[in-house]
């Protein structure tokens, strides 16, 4: 087995682990670190459930090897709430707008929209729909996810 030692920061915590080089980052987070909030829905980069933030940018964790995250900063859905456990404005909006049902796509929606709203704090509805076009949801029909993103954006702009 080809192995490497990697060091990275996950949700603000410095971590060093010996990993098999073929392990994808999603599995590393789930299996080695127990961060099971990142979900594997397709493992071919289409469903978006496994999306995490790599140095702040939304990427598919099933399409990266853990070894490639060496030296990088990773944020998962567990890292979105504040340190005292309070929901982020986006998480809060998902709760209020009923933006999740089974919750399986939710981590990828949250990470994707967190990155998107940082870059575009005042999006139109169509822009939000485009932003999550790489995230599949079978439960909600997306309407409440879009509503939650717009509501969170308003709140983060201080409008509500």
């Amino acid at each position: 087995m080809d192995r490497r030692t990697i060091s990275l920061t996950v949700n603000g915590k410095r971590i060093t682990r010996d990993v098999e080089t073929r392990q994808h980052l999603g599995d590393f987070l789930r299996r080695e670190l127990g961060l099971t909030g990142t979900h594997l829905g397709c493992e071919h980069g289409v469903c978006g459930a496994c999306t995490i933030l790599l140095d702040g940018e939304a990427v598919r964790s099933c399409l990266m090897l853990a070894v490639q995250a060496d030296g990088r900063h990773v944020t998962t859905t567990e890292g979105l709430a504040s340190a005292d456990g309070a929901l982020s404005p986006l998480q809060q909006a998902f709760w209020e707008e009923h933006g999740l049902q089974c919750g399986f796509c939710t981590p990828g929606m949250l990470t994707t929209l967190t990155a998107f709203l940082r870059e575009n704090p005042n999006p139109t509805e169509d822009e939000v729909r485009d932003a999550i076009s790489g995230n599949l949801c079978r439960c909600t029909g997306y309407a409440n996810i879009v509503a939650a993103a717009l509501s969170a954006a308003r709140r983060m702009r201080g409008e509500a």
């Binding site: 087995m1 080809d2 490497r4 080089t21 073929r22 392990q23 994808h24 599995d27 493992e43 071919h44 980069g45 978006g48 999306t51 790599l54 940018e57 939304a58 990427v59 598919r60 099933c62 399409l63 990266m64 090897l65 070894v67 490639q68 994707t112 998107f116 485009d130 932003a131 076009s133 790489g134």
Partner: protein, 286 residues
């Protein structure tokens, strides 16, 4: 759907990559991984060695010298998309990039990866074809430059030997102002298109066509320039219907998702739409 066993290599320089490529059997190059990683997870590819290019910093650059554009193969699609100077010089690139997967995949995906993977419907090879771009390829035995027209050798088969690495792409931007449009027909946002059409258009002061380039993606294994249409447009008032008719005549492949006849129909429709948009943009100064 877990990657198969392989030995992982992460060289830091091009020369290290080339010596690995020259010495390892059954090695695969890993660029952004947005196509290769799914193929590994599906075990469609079973390499003994994986050579990761992500730490080869010298392969990631955007250089603009006058109208000469040079881009490193490991430049992220998202970096190209965000570069304002590049968007001013080649506005079609940003428009086409918006159709490449999703922003999460563009954060990792690279231009070199896209050109080397060579999906028949990929947008970036199409845009490069519009510019008659040149691809720089290196191996431990030397360098060569390949014109984009000679790049595709077959279905998902670039003009690249097992020991060769695509290092960079260069092209000449069109003189501003010019018109551009990249339109495609995909079932959903971010999907590979059934057909995509890119076009660049320059007008004379009397609004006759000074220069035109039209490319189709998704119809054949590699992008197809509609040379006959480009020729017949030159020096005349824009004849959209005539150009669309030429695009419709290009032979198109059939697969599970669309017949050749339907693709030809789309090629005509989209060529007309792209030309119309490019013309409006050319008239209003790009």
């Amino acid at each position: 759907m877990k990657p198969p066993p392989f030995t992982y290599h992460d060289p830091r320089t091009v020369s290290d990559v080339l010596s690995l490529l020259g010495s390892l059997e059954n090695a695969k190059l890993l660029a952004g991984g947005q196509s290769l990683a799914p193929m590994l997870n599906f075990r469609y590819v079973l390499p003994d060695h994986l050579i990761d290019l992500n730490k080869v910093d010298e392969l990631a650059y955007i250089k603009i010298e006058g109208r000469r554009i040079r881009v490193g193969a490991m430049t992220r699609q998202r970096a190209l998309e965000r570069d304002d100077a590049l968007a001013r010089a080649c506005p079609i690139l940003r428009e086409a990039l918006a159709e490449v997967g999703h922003f999460q995949t563009r954060n990792r995906g690279t231009i070199g990866g896209s050109l080397s993977h060579l999906d028949p419907a990929a947008e970036l090879p199409g845009v490069m074809a519009l510019y008659d771009a040149h691809l720089e390829v290196q191996s431990s035995s030397g360098k060569r430059t390949i014109g984009i027209a000679d790049w595709g050798q077959g279905y998902m088969t670039p003009n690249l030997q097992a020991d060769e690495l695509l290092t960079g792409i260069s092209w000449e931007a069109w003189e501003n102002p010019h018109g551009h449009a990249f339109v495609e027909f995909a079932r959903r946002k971010g999907d590979f298109a059934a057909v995509g059409v890119g076009c660049l258009l320059s007008l004379n002061p009397d609004q006759t066509v000074k220069r035109a380039a039209i490319v189709l993606v998704g119809v054949a294994y590699a992008p197809v320039r509609v040379m006959s249409a480009e020729r017949l447009l030159l020096g005349k008032a824009l004849d959209i219907e005539a150009a669309a008719a030429e695009a419709r005549r290009i032979e198109a492949k059939s697969d599970l998702f669309a017949s050749g006849a339907y693709r030809q129909r789309l090629a005509g429709v989209l060529t007309a739409r792209a030309l119309r948009t490019a013309f409006e943009r050319a008239k209003s100064g790009g």
